[in-house]
């Protein structure tokens, strides 16, 4: 459902992605691991269409469409969700207002009826419960004053509410305590483990992969995939490090 072919991208004239290719089929979870600065977040941002991330070559096909040809909000409506490594604070805008408007904007693009206030709150409550996030947190301004772990959990509540086809999750596990890691892992499974959905899981740690079992593990280094394997590759990485495994 996501086919990345020979993708090249630069930021401010500096080449970051160097011919990256990757294909995720429906029903699959792929993990991407790699050293700091390898280009993992850059890949996530390029898939999300962040301004300033210039694609200079290659292609990305998403559910039969040219992803790179779409505006960021159109990608979201087409079913692409980006879980941020650093979720953004928006003072003055409550989570409830933000997410209801976002969901209804997506529904409108898809030709669906908007959700009423009551229906939205029921949905939000259900997804907050799934992630064990207090509903009161959703009444507060988006990510403002949230702890690092709360931000990551709120990010998954957003994913639950928006119910995307595909999720790129950039280090959703970092900053989570041990219990929260399990809750988030189970949340990802509940929301995204389905025959018609796909996940790209960017992580530094094997631990999340104990909960969300990947079908494939890729090592990204210097802007390209240098090795691909099964779940055991992550275990080997944990024991031996990038230098030894990716060489």
């Amino acid at each position: 459902m996501l086919k990345i072919d020979n993708l090249q991208a630069e930021i401010g004239g500096t080449r970051i992605l160097n011919g990256l290719s990757l294909e995720v089929n429906a029903g699959e979870v792929h993990a991407i691991m790699g050293p700091n600065g390898a280009g993992k977040s850059t890949l996530a941002y390029v898939l999300g269409g962040r301004p300033g991330y210039e694609v200079t070559g290659g292609s990305v096909e998403f559910i039969g469409r040219d992803l790179l040809d779409m505006e960021p909000h159109e990608r979201a409506a087409a079913g692409m969700f980006l879980g941020f490594q650093y979720p953004v604070e928006i003072p003055g805008v409550s989570n409830v207002q933000f997410l209801r408007e976002a969901l209804n904007a997506q529904r409108q693009v898809r030709g669906e009826e908007p959700l009423s206030g009551g229906d939205f709150l029921r949905l939000a409550k259900e997804k907050a419960g799934l992630l064990k996030l207090d509903m009161d947190m959703l009444k507060r301004h988006v990510n403002v004053g949230f702890s690092g772990g709360e931000k990551k959990r709120a990010e998954m509540v957003q994913m639950g509410i928006l119910d995307p086809q595909f999720a790129v999750l950039d280090e959703t596990d970092s900053g989570l305590d041990i219990d929260a890691l399990r809750i988030v892992g189970e949340g990802i499974n509940a929301i995204m483990r389905a025959p018609e959905k796909g996940v790209l899981l960017i992580t530094h740690y094997q631990r999340l992969l104990d909960y969300v079992k990947p079908d494939y593990v890729h090592i990204l280094s210097k802007g390209r995939i240098v090795k691909t394997g099964g779940p055991d590759l992550a275990l080997r990485l944990e024991e031996e490090g990038y230098e030894a495994v990716a060489a």
Partner: protein
């Protein structure tokens, strides 16, 4: 044509950033008086929302001992839209102003206030938020006078400008004349643009650039209505402001 001779110039502090040339034909002597008797409360919400030329509102407010006056206003129309308020505070009185200016093209929209703390223990709080685009200008000229005996005065001014496009501008000129020594006067002014990171985050959740901007502007100007304890009025004022933003005029 005798109105011309009475026109102010930009040398006049109160007209420094204004569109004085738009004043031809305006009635510069039309002051409206608001007197709030001792111990009472008064609230008024004003909007300038459908004038194409010059729209001038001048208020002279006198607030009695321990009385309270709250003004909330949106200036969203007029080639020149201007609200001037002169306030005199008696002992222990409070004045609250929440003001919003919005506009594009080559419009000028401004608040000009003079708040006189004439007796001790009075408080005042002015919050102005200005959102402009095109070649639009937003101004806040706020003078605060604290007379010699007005001890324990607490006067605050906050101004923030949000420029949606290059070419728009805002000016904030606080002017403090303080002759008492036990006085708190806080004023802050800042200018910024829409947060690009927030915009991308919102887009990544499915909000179009227009919707994201609308939400961010709503959050920004919301500061001016925090003290307005009337949800329906707050929504009305917000509606007037956002409608102007949607038209992008």
């Amino acid at each position: 044509m005798n109105a011309l001779t009475a026109l102010p110039t930009r040398k006049d502090e109160a007209w420094r950033y204004s569109a004085v040339e738009a004043l031809v034909g305006a009635d510069l002597d039309a002051w409206r008086a608001i007197d709030v008797p001792a111990g009472e409360s008064y609230r008024e919400c004003l909007t300038i929302e459908d004038s194409e030329s010059t729209e001038l509102r001048r208020l002279r407010v006198s607030i009695g001992e321990s009385a309270r006056c709250e003004l909330f206003a949106v200036i969203a129309a007029g080639r020149l839209g201007r609200i001037e308020v002169e306030v005199r505070l008696a002992k222990g009185a409070h004045f609250e102003l929440g003001g919003v200016t919005l506009g594009g093209r080559d419009t000028v929209r401004e608040f000009v206030t003079r708040v006189v703390h004439a007796e001790p223990e009075a408080t005042s709080n002015q919050v102005i938020r200005s959102v402009h685009w095109g070649k639009g200008t937003g101004n806040f000229l706020g003078q605060i006078d604290v007379v010699r005996d007005a001890q324990k005065t607490d006067a605050a001014q906050s101004f923030k400008g949000l420029l949606l496009e290059k070419g728009a501008s805002v000016n904030a000129v606080p002017q403090l004349e303080i002759f008492a020594d036990d006085v708190k006067c806080a004023h802050g002014a800042s200018v910024g643009q829409l947060d690009e990171t927030a915009r991308f985050y919102m887009a990544a959740r499915g909000l179009s650039p227009e919707l994201a901007r609308r939400l961010l502007v709503q959050a920004f100007i919301g500061d001016a209505f925090v003290a307005l304890d009337d949800e329906a009025e707050r929504e009305r004022l917000m509606g007037v402001a956002l409608a102007k933003l949607d038209l992008h005029l």
